[in-house]
Symmetry: C2
Subunit: 117 residues, 2 copies
Amino acid sequence: MSAIKQVIAVRTDIKMGRGKTAAQVGHACVLAAEAARVSHPDWWNEWWDTQEKVVVRVPGYGDLEEIRREAARAGLPYHMVRDAGHTQLTPGTATCVSVGPAPEHLIDRITGGLSLL
Amino acid sequence: MSAIKQVIAVRTDIKMGRGKTAAQVGHACVLAAEAARVSHPDWWNEWWDTQEKVVVRVPGYGDLEEIRREAARAGLPYHMVRDAGHTQLTPGTATCVSVGPAPEHLIDRITGGLSLL
């Protein structure tokens, strides 16, 4: 089996500061990891020691939605983050989506072509 | 009881890109959240729906270590992240520390004076 990783795709077409971006990615990591802990405990356990996370960039909302759809279709754990809108963004703005923890080769089919943030 | 939140303090004296910072904060969020799920399931449950995360800045390693020590002394869940050093940083470099999920008034005694990243 390939290594287990988590990939978080972040929109670059909305203006978020460094701390805001980090908090959004934190939401995505926590929520998708918990989804995996429940649905795929074997993946979660194997991933736990490495905690491998890769943060990549996408140009807009459509890309997040496409990643989310493909992750769902492939049966991978995922979480799309929508901002509460207390600061910086309009309430409900989708900011990032996390796929995995899941086997690398399954995630790479979806996000393999994306560049690091 | 006050609201439950998680605070992540990030060093500003080491050079990390936006994606790198976000991944480090992701590590901190996941690992401290899991510590809380096990040690303080009541806090974890109450926090789950809000997922409140606040990312703040500290000038250097000494500040991370002081936050870690105070969180441990107060019996709060925490996690100090050390980078594996595959990219950008020297292996073992401490990058950030997460405190909570825990009640706001307990965390604020430790991190209340810090500015947002």
